[in-house]
Structure formats: structure tokens, C-alpha cells
């Protein structure tokens, strides 16, 4: 009698296996999983949950990544075997062949708008910080745009490296400093040195004499122009004065509000 009761009671003191609570939280999307992937950029730690990829970083160690995730995202995080198709998806995303889903829930509306806008910049092209600010209809918030991009929790995937300064400096980069930014842009096909030279010379836009359209220098729609038809323009005013209209693809002029 008593022995049975004691045994029954002991049954009640069973402990759930390690990591059980985290697995439940992962299941409902309140915690994230992560794994390390070999990519075109080298080893990258990637975190994901049921809404999509939530963080990425090139870190020296697991501890560094976990620390970064805790600081920037704040949800519980659990190492996990990667879903079978994730490595291929990551490879495709980083080489521009596919669009992934991202989870940016923990960010403000403004931060999300900045990152979504950066995500629209095609591979092989760059845009100024001011362009992002104008496009999201916050033309005065250029510095805040810079801050939001610097705190991008999913660099490489959301290409904050494609946002650069117009004065010939490449601009800072949370994903490994200006050198890393240059390297990634070069890998994507941007002629970084030429871009920097143009910037230093005060050139902002490329006009094409035959079409009377001006673009950002890396805009793909301006790339087909013959060298002899190209004019370099310093600002919007002189471009307009010379009879050029802004490109509708890269939208170098202020967005009408």
C-alpha cells in the first residue's frame, strides 16, 4: 500500500528531457534553431524558425553567434540539424537565384521598411543611403537608415552591403567592415574601384545622350549604353537642366509622395 503510493509519487517527479521546453517553443515559432553552413561566403551561422530565416553571421565560434543572437533577436535559440533543403536554399539566395522568407518580427516598422527596401536592390548594383530614405518616404531619416542597416540581423541575405555612400567611401558594414563590403560587392559584379573614383569626382549619375535618361551608375538599365553616349552628371538639377529625365527602374530622383 504505502510502497505503491511512494512509487506512484515518484513517477510524478519525472523530468522532461533536456531541451524539451525549447523544442516546444521552436515548434510554435517562439524560439529559433540554428546551424552552421558552408556557403560562397565561407562559414555562416544561420538561424531560422517557422516564419523564415531570422539571423545570419560569420562568427568565430558558436558562443559568439549565440551571444549575438541573444543581443539582437532575444528569442531562445537551439542548435538543430538543418532541414534537408535549407543548405541549397541558402546557396541559391546568396547567389541571387531565389527569394527566401525572413522573420523580422523583433524589429520596428521603420527598421523593417529599411531592410525590405534594401532587399529590392538587385545583385550587382548599389544605391545611396539617401535613396533608401526617400523610397520609404522618410527622406530626412538618412542617418537612421544607416543605423537600421548597420543592425541588420540577416546580413548577406538582406543585402545591406548594396547600400553605399555617394562620396566615394564605400560606407561601413556590420557584416565585417568596409573591406568585407567591398569583397562581397566585387563578388556580385560591382566595379567597386570605378564606383569609388566616380564618387570622389563628385559624379552621382550616369546620363545617356541617346535616351535622355539618367540612372545610378550601377543601374542595369543603363549598362547597355555605348561609352561614347554616356555623360556623367553631378546632381539632379544639372541633369534636368541638360534635358535628362530620371530612370524609372532605379528611381534616382525623389519619389513623389
Amino acid at each position: 500500500m504505502t510502497a505503491l503510493m511512494t512509487d506512484l509519487k515518484r513517477l510524478g517527479s519525472m523530468k522532461a528531457p533536456d531541451g524539451f521546453a525549447e523544442r516546444v517553443l521552436v515548434e510554435v515559432g517562439m524560439a529559433d534553431s540554428y546551424a552552421r553552413f558552408d556557403t560562397v561566403l565561407g562559414e555562416v551561422y544561420v538561424a531560422w524558425n517557422r516564419f523564415g530565416v531570422s539571423a545570419a553571421a560569420r562568427c568565430a565560434s558558436v558562443a559568439e553567434f549565440e551571444e549575438m543572437f541573444k543581443r539582437e533577436v532575444g528569442r531562445p535559440l537551439l542548435p538543430a540539424p538543418a532541414p534537408a533543403d535549407l543548405a541549397a536554399k541558402i546557396e541559391d539566395e546568396l547567389s541571387g537565384k531565389r527569394r527566401m522568407r525572413f522573420d523580422l518580427r523583433q524589429l520596428t516598422e521603420f527598421q523593417q521598411a529599411v531592410l525590405r527596401k534594401a532587399y529590392e536592390i538587385p545583385r550587382g548594383e548599389v544605391r545611396p543611403y539617401g535613396w533608401v530614405a526617400k523610397e520609404i518616404r522618410r527622406p530626412d531619416a538618412v542617418r537612421a537608415v544607416g543605423t537600421a542597416l548597420a543592425n541588420n540581423p540577416i546580413p548577406y541575405f538582406i543585402p545591406c552591403h548594396r547600400v553605399v555612400r555617394t562620396d566615394g567611401h564605400i560606407g561601413n558594414y556590420g557584416g565585417g567592415g568596409p573591406e568585407a563590403k567591398k569583397a562581397i560587392l566585387t563578388m556580385e559584379g560591382v566595379r567597386v574601384n570605378r564606383l569609388q573614383e566616380l564618387g570622389r569626382g563628385g559624379v552621382r549619375y550616369q546620363g545617356v545622350k541617346t535616351t535622355k535618361i539618367y540612372c545610378y551608375p550601377t543601374c542595369h538599365s543603363g549598362q547597355r549604353a555605348l561609352e561614347k553616349n554616356i555623360v556623367w552628371l553631378h546632381d539632379e538639377k544639372s541633369a534636368r537642366a541638360a534635358g535628362f529625365r530620371p530612370c524609372k527602374v532605379c528611381r534616382p530622383a525623389a519619389v513623389a509622395s
Binding site: 505503491l4 506512484l8 513517477l11 519525472m14 528531457p17 510554435v28
Partner: protein, 171 residues
């Protein structure tokens, strides 16, 4: 939504062992126990999303979760037959430990197996009353049964566990 998530995370951390233990006592093996516990919390999460804030605040979490867990086990039983025996330690959650601990573990598994073959209504009553030491009133609430029924089921369940014959078992 933020609020619900915080409530839920706290609920999982606070009740995970208890609900796992219910799963173990009701199914008789660790693998099913984890599935039951996980299912229980998933259902709880979905339900919380539909509750108004004051209902969440006044929720008696323990009884509520136990009730969900009992239902999860009942639903599973309706599908496949539960596995009542766990083969010797092939499960991945086996912790290496001192021999005494392994022995204890075997005893626990044995008892859980004996519980698992009880008719469900006795098993549920015994598990909640004596494994989880809930009061008869709490058990009655969790099982949605009158207190008198619960008392009778606990009594007859214990009798069966002790190996005494109960003539009324097959009603």
C-alpha cells in the same frame, strides 16, 4: 500577442516536467510521453491565441494542461494502440548514470507499464490523484467528472495495481 507569448513561455517552463510525467504515467513509455507533452503544449498555445486576456489571466493552468494532456492521450488511443513496453534503453534520451539510477529507472518504467494496461478511466484518475497529488476536486475538474466517480475510479484503479481482482472491471 506579445503577452500571450510571455504567458506561454512561462507556462511551458513551469509545467513541462509535470506534463511530461503525466504523459509517461498515462502512456507507459518515454517516447510517447514526449509526444504527448509536446502535443499538449501545442494545443495549449493554439487555444491561448483564441482566448480573451481575462480568460487567460484567470486560467487554472495546471488543471487546464492536465485536461488537455488526458485528451491528447485519449485521442491517440483511439488511433494506434499505445506501445506499452519500451525495449531496453534503445531510446535516445537514455542518460548514462550510476547503476542505482538505472535501477530506479527500470522500476519507474515497470510501474508505468502496469499503469498503462489499466482501463483508461482508472488510469487517468490514479495518475492525477496519486502521481500528481492533485486533490479530488482538481482531478474532477481536469477530467470533467463528478468527484464521486473520481474517488471510485481511483480506488478501483489502485486495487487493480496491487493485483487484487476487481469483479466490476469489465462493466
Amino acid at each position: 500577442m506579445e503577452g500571450v507569448e510571455r504567458v506561454f513561455e512561462k507556462m511551458v517552463r513551469e509545467h513541462q516536467h509535470r506534463i511530461y510525467a503525466v504523459g509517461f504515467a498515462l502512456t507507459g513509455n518515454r517516447h510517447d510521453a514526449e509526444e504527448v507533452a509536446q502535443d499538449t503544449f501545442l494545443r495549449a498555445y493554439r487555444a491561448l491565441g483564441t482566448y480573451p486576456p481575462d480568460r487567460i489571466r484567470e486560467l487554472k493552468q495546471k488543471a487546464w494542461l492536465h485536461r488537455i494532456a488526458v485528451n491528447v492521450v485519449r485521442n491517440r488511443a483511439r488511433g494506434a494502440k499505445p506501445r506499452t513496453a519500451e525495449l531496453n534503453g534503445s531510446e535516445s534520451d537514455l542518460m548514462p548514470g550510476p547503476e542505482s539510477r538505472a535501477l530506479q529507472r527500470a522500476e519507474m518504467d515497470d510501474l508505468a507499464c502496469r499503469l498503462a494496461v489499466l482501463p483508461p478511466r482508472f488510469r487517468e484518475a490514479v495518475v492525477l490523484r496519486h502521481v500528481h497529488e492533485m486533490t479530488y476536486a482538481e482531478v474532477a475538474e481536469a477530467l470533467d467528472q463528478p468527484v464521486g466517480t473520481v474517488k471510485s475510479n481511483v480506488h478501483r484503479g489502485l486495487k487493480l495495481l496491487r493485483g487484487e481482482h476487481d469483479d466490476r472491471v469489465d462493466d
